[in-house]
């Protein structure tokens, strides 16, 4: 347990905003940039912005989650960290689970906070904002889990980053359908389904990611 806490602390230091693995404020700025530019692109009609703004926040969140994927596993595999952990009997699954938590903390809560200024920029009302925030809370763990799995799977592949982005988008569609869909129906059912999907993905990710890391090492 102690080694894992040490690893988690390193992950957090690397991935949290201001961390060392470069530009972790980038997803946040990217997210806000989308919210700022959207009114310029579609025109400033308030009713249009209010109607579509929630969906735009969701799409921006999805794209922001892709940005850190190339740095999640590749550097550690190249520098031999995973080999050394394996020799010490620390399972890849446990390392991936710690990384999943750190990855989510690095973009989930910041995005939920950044949705507040984004909502102001898009002129979204309080009721819709509440639905967006709940949806993001339910959906971002699932986005993080998909990201971690894809990042681990593409770790040994050349041009893996571009591939990771391409793979993440279709896999994230169900989360988007239920999470952003709740905006249209206004119901809690969509958010609940989104949360259930998230839980499932979070449960699967450490095992899929661990197996992928082991396969990459054999290659």
């Amino acid at each position: 347990m102690r080694p894992l806490l040490t690893i988690l602390r390193r992950d957090l230091a690397l991935l949290l905003p201001g961390g060392q693995r470069g530009g972790t404020l980038l997803p946040l700025l990217f997210f806000l940039a989308v919210a700022m530019l959207y009114p310029f692109a579609v025109g400033p009609q308030p009713e249009l912005l209010a109607r579509t703004g929630g969906g735009v926040i969701w799409v921006a969140a999805l794209l922001a989650a892709i940005l850190p994927l190339d740095r999640l596993f590749a550097p550690d595999l190249e520098q031999g960290f995973f080999d050394q952990w394996a020799l010490r009997g620390i399972a890849e699954e446990a390392v991936v689970a710690a990384r999943l938590l750190a990855h989510w903390l690095s973009f989930g809560p910041p995005l939920i906070l950044a949705a507040l200024p984004a909502a102001a920029l898009l002129g979204i009302d309080a009721q819709t904002l509440w639905t967006v925030e709940l949806g993001l809370l339910a959906g971002t763990p699932g986005l993080a889990a998909i990201g971690v799995m894809i990042s681990a799977l593409t770790v040994g592949v050349r041009g893996g980053t571009a591939l990771a982005g391409l793979l993440l988008i279709p896999l994230a569609v169900p989360l988007l359908v239920f999470g952003a869909g709740a905006l249209a129906t206004g119901g809690a059912g969509g958010i609940a389904l989104c949360g259930a999907l998230s839980l499932l993905l979070v449960a699967v990710a450490p095992f899929a990611g661990g197996a992928a890391i082991r396969a990459a090492r054999e290659g």
Binding site: Q20, L87, R88
Partner: protein, 192 residues
């Protein structure tokens, strides 16, 4: 040191379409050391990774008793962090002491980000990580690469001490490695 043993029977290794070696067996008991020699591309690194359990052999089996310490070309130290912190990450996991840093003459480098270290300095830092791990079985892949004469002698002395204390060492290197009582295995003899 805890009792240790490392034995391999009838190992074969395949990389891609090529069979690098086959029919390789070895048995090392406490205090034993072997140098695996041979030119580039004969499978020295692959053998080390098979012995470490990081690579599945194409055929054969490896039995280990005791923890494995691996030193290869990848130091597993965070480049952006000062060397002291990069090393203390592993010390927190392994629970080892600080003596290795002094032994390897790393004190003047402790405040330097690890990525600014030279090849030899990085190797010495990795040796410090290995020492504080206190694993009974050492698998060293080209441990002398980039080391100066002084550091080479130090590395050889460390291995000698490790074996005298009941540890096992496998050195894969194309360079001469001086250690009294060390046996030598030429990989080319097992080539196909």
């Amino acid at each position: 040191m805890e009792p240790c043993r490392l034995s391999a029977t009838d190992l074969a290794c395949r990389r891609g379409e090529r069979l690098l070696f086959r029919g390789l067996s070895l048995r090392l008991d406490a205090g034993a050391a072997v140098q695996v020699a041979g030119p580039n591309g004969t499978g020295k690194s692959s053998l080390i990774r098979i012995l470490a359990g990081l690579l599945r052999p194409y055929a054969g089996a490896v039995e280990r008793e005791g923890d494995i310490g691996l030193l290869d070309e990848r130091p597993a130290l965070d480049g952006h962090q000062p060397l002291s912190q990069a090393l203390s990450f592993w010390r927190r996991i392994d629970g080892g002491g600080n003596a290795a840093v002094e032994r390897l003459g790393l004190e003047p480098l402790l405040d330097l980000p690890a990525r600014y270290l030279s090849t030899g300095q990085r190797k010495r830092a990795a040796l410090a990580r290995l020492l504080s791990q206190r694993a009974p079985i050492w698998l060293l892949d080209e441990p002398l690469n980039g080391l100066d004469v002084h550091a080479v002698a130090l590395c050889e002395a460390l291995v000698a001490e490790h074996c005298a204390g009941g540890g096992i060492t496998v050195v894969a290197s194309h360079q001469p490695f001086t250690l009294p009582g060390m046996s030598r295995m030429v990989l080319a003899e097992f080539a196909t």
